[in-house]
């Protein structure tokens, strides 16, 4: 079997806070093959975005750092590479779109310039060629009348259109990996569906692998082949999407799935109850302790969960769950 495109092994990311150092990512390992799509799921504060920023080398300066572990991209070790090489990879081979389309574009430059500058920086295109390419890209992300809109400023566009522009910027250099950090959270439901369609279509055309970060199980089912459920900086469960939704092996995954409402034509008795996961993600100072961090919210908790961090149990060929009671879930 050939090497995967991206291989993350035993990654640990630490944040220095006022009360000390907190491991916001604690012993995370996963692999991403070329053209594959994978989803990170979990509540806010579980370390999904930190994983993405860690891969991009964009952790908050002086606060966050990769403490141990490796990130291997296409045979190259990203944790030790120079800033210059990292810049050559960012936006070119690995690119990222963000949660807030309203504020992620620079308000004082035209969208065309913001697309064209990536092409100039990484592909060495001339001003004119980059500009023409920007028009084609706007057309590819289905912004009508691209030739005219290319010289618009972000404030002249809607949220959905701005996110399309962000996608155009991210895909300009045909990256091998696209990281999408909650790309539709700030958008209307109808626009969300359009953005997912667009991402899926572009993925088919370009063969870009997608890392999708979300807290929406519906989005996972639509977008990804494999999923990683994160809790408090740790991998709770990972495996093929269908297999996990069919039979989750971690109480947290089970909770997340039963939070999603199912639309039915008629209300009847068979409608299953919407449940919530009681409690909240533990505070950062709890992170890194040698026990199951989900224990405080879990209805299957036993003494073992409080004493020792659970190892990963493997189900089938690729489903892994970090739970002492995985068999019983």
């Amino acid at each position: 079997m050939s090497e995967p495109l991206l291989k993350v092994q035993n990654l640990r990311i630490e944040l220095s806070l006022r009360d000390g150092i907190a491991p916001v990512i604690d012993d995370l390992s996963f692999e991403l093959g070329a053209g594959e799509s994978i989803s990170f799921v979990g509540e806010s504060g579980c370390g999904k975005s930190m994983t993405a920023l860690g891969i991009m080398g964009l952790l908050p300066e002086k606060v966050g750092r990769i403490a141990s572990g490796t990130i291997t991209f296409d045979g190259e070790e990203l944790t030790t590479v120079t800033q210059k090489r990292l810049r050559a990879i960012r936006g070119n081979e690995i690119s990222m779109i963000f949660q807030e389309p309203m504020t992620s574009l620079n308000p004082v430059y035209t969208v065309g310039e913001q697309i064209a500058e990536v092409l100039r920086a990484h592909q060495g295109l001339s001003k004119a060629a980059a500009w023409n390419n920007a028009i084609e890209l706007l057309d590819a992300v289905r912004i009508p009348n691209a030739k005219r809109r290319v010289s618009d400023y972000p404030f002249q566009m809607s949220g959905g259109q701005r996110q399309r522009v962000m996608i155009a910027i991210a895909l300009a250099c045909e990256p091998k990996i696209l990281i999408a950090d909650e790309p539709t959270t700030a958008l209307d439901v109808t626009v969300q569906a359009e953005i997912f369609d667009l991402l899926n279509e572009l993925k088919r055309q370009t063969g870009t692998a997608i890392i999708m970060i979300t807290h929406d199980m519906g989005a996972v089912a639509e977008m990804a082949e494999r999923m990683i459920v994160m809790y408090a900086g740790r991998n709770a469960e990972q495996g093929p999407v269908e297999q996990i939704i069919d039979h989750p092996r971690h109480p947290y995954t089970k909770g997340l799935i039963s939070c999603v409402p199912h639309i039915m034509a008629t209300l009847n008795d068979e409608r299953h109850e919407l449940t919530e996961i009681a409690g909240i993600v533990p505070p950062l100072r709890e992170f890194g302790k040698d026990r199951c961090l989900f224990a405080s919210r879990c209805n299957m908790v036993s003494q073992q969960c409080l004493d020792k961090r659970p190892p990963e149990a493997i189900f089938g060929d690729s489903q892994r769950s970090a739970c002492w009671h995985a068999e019983a879930v």
Binding site: M56, L58, L86, R87, A88, I89, R90, G91, N92, S95, M96, F98, E100, T103, S104, L105, N106, P107, V108, Y109, E117, V118, A121, H122, Y153, F155, Q156, M166, I169
Partner: protein, 325 residues
């Protein structure tokens, strides 16, 4: 097109504003006790009522207020600011002789303060705990709290008397002969201390504001996007962040135009700079109403033009101001 139209509207408003300023100035001068007749009689060593009345009749000061106001406004509309009681020359001519010196001082101080202030702000925002950052904080405290005339006198003692680096007063040395460059260097030498004095307050303001806005902008989402694009540090800071942090500084600089003019009066007094400030000072002492009104008119004009320039500059920096949309 829309931009041109809104600029034209701004100019129309500016003219209306200028008229209002004229009426207000004239009324206030009229309310103040004493007039030129008093000054003239004083310099003659006293005069009786008959002569005072005669002087007032000569200058039209015996007319009712509204008549005086009407005739003054009528003249101003024909670009005639009247005759100076004291210097016996047309006010317009008098002011136009002095205006270039003040504009030179004010614009040099403003532009240098803006330029250096923004650079200091950017440097200190990139390293909030660095030496440059502490320097800006101290500079801001000093520049803003030290009175202009005090700074000016200290500089004079330091760099004109103790170390004789710069001339003590005036704008040029009349004994110097030579070509254009000789005179240019001479004026620059005279300009240094007044510009430092006047610029220090504004430098304090601008560097502080530039530092604050730059720090905010550097933490913004679109700067993160620029980094995620793989752009160089230089492009991220000077292309993406700087342009966004300029708007507040330019706005403040525009507001400061009025303060610059009033600050210039003090600075000109300290350095005997032959500008409008010195003229204003002398004509207030002499109760030379037409000259004072003329100076106020020109200051209002400079402030209004300054604001107009600010508006145009903002349009260049931020497309969301005016323009299409």
């Amino acid at each position: 097109m829309a931009t041109l139209q809104s600029l034209l509207m701004r100019i129309v408003y500016a003219v209306i504003l200028l008229m209002a300023v004229l009426v207000l100035n004239f009324s206030m001068m009229h309310l103040a006790p004493g007039d030129v007749a008093d000054t003239i009689s004083q310099s003659m060593g006293g005069a009786d009522q008959e002569i005072l009345d005669q002087i007032r009749a000569d200058y039209g000061l015996d007319q009712p207020f509204l008549v005086q106001l009407g005739s003054y406004m009528g003249k101003v509309l024909r670009f005639d600011l009247g005759y100076s009681f004291f210097y016996n020359t047309p006010v317009t001519q008098l002011i136009l002789q002095r205006l270039p010196a003040t504009l030179l001082l004010v614009f040099t101080a403003q532009i240098l303060a803006l330029f250096i202030g923004v650079i200091l702000g950017v440097i200190s925002a990139r390293k909030p705990n660095g030496i440059a950052s502490h320097f800006v904080t101290i500079l801001a405290l000093f520049g803003y709290s030290a009175p202009v005339f005090w700074t000016g006198i200290l500089l004079l003692i330091g760099f004109s008397l103790n170390i004789q680096l710069f001339p003590v007063a005036g704008m040029r040395d009349v004994t110097i002969e030579g070509g254009f460059w000789v005179h240019f260097v001479d004026i620059v030498r005279h300009l240094v201390l007044p510009v430092i004095t006047l610029g220090s307050i504004f430098l304090a303001l601008y560097s502080r504001l530039a530092r604050a806005t730059m720090m905010e902008v550097l933490g913004s989402d679109y700067v993160r996007t620029a980094k995620a694009k793989g752009l160089s540090e230089r492009e991220v800071v000077y292309k993406h962040a700087l342009k966004n942090s300029l708007s507040p500084v330019i706005t403040l600089a525009g507001l400061q135009f009025s303060a610059v003019i009033s600050g210039a009066v003090l600075v000109e007094a300290v350095f005997s700079w032959p500008g409008l400030g010195t003229l204003a000072f002398q004509s207030i002492i002499a109760r030379d109403t037409p000259t004072i009104l003329g100076i106020l008119f020109f200051s209002a004009l400079v402030v209004i033009i300054g604001n107009l320039l600010t508006d145009i500059a903002l349009r260049f920096v931020d497309p969301r101001v005016g323009g299409k949309g």
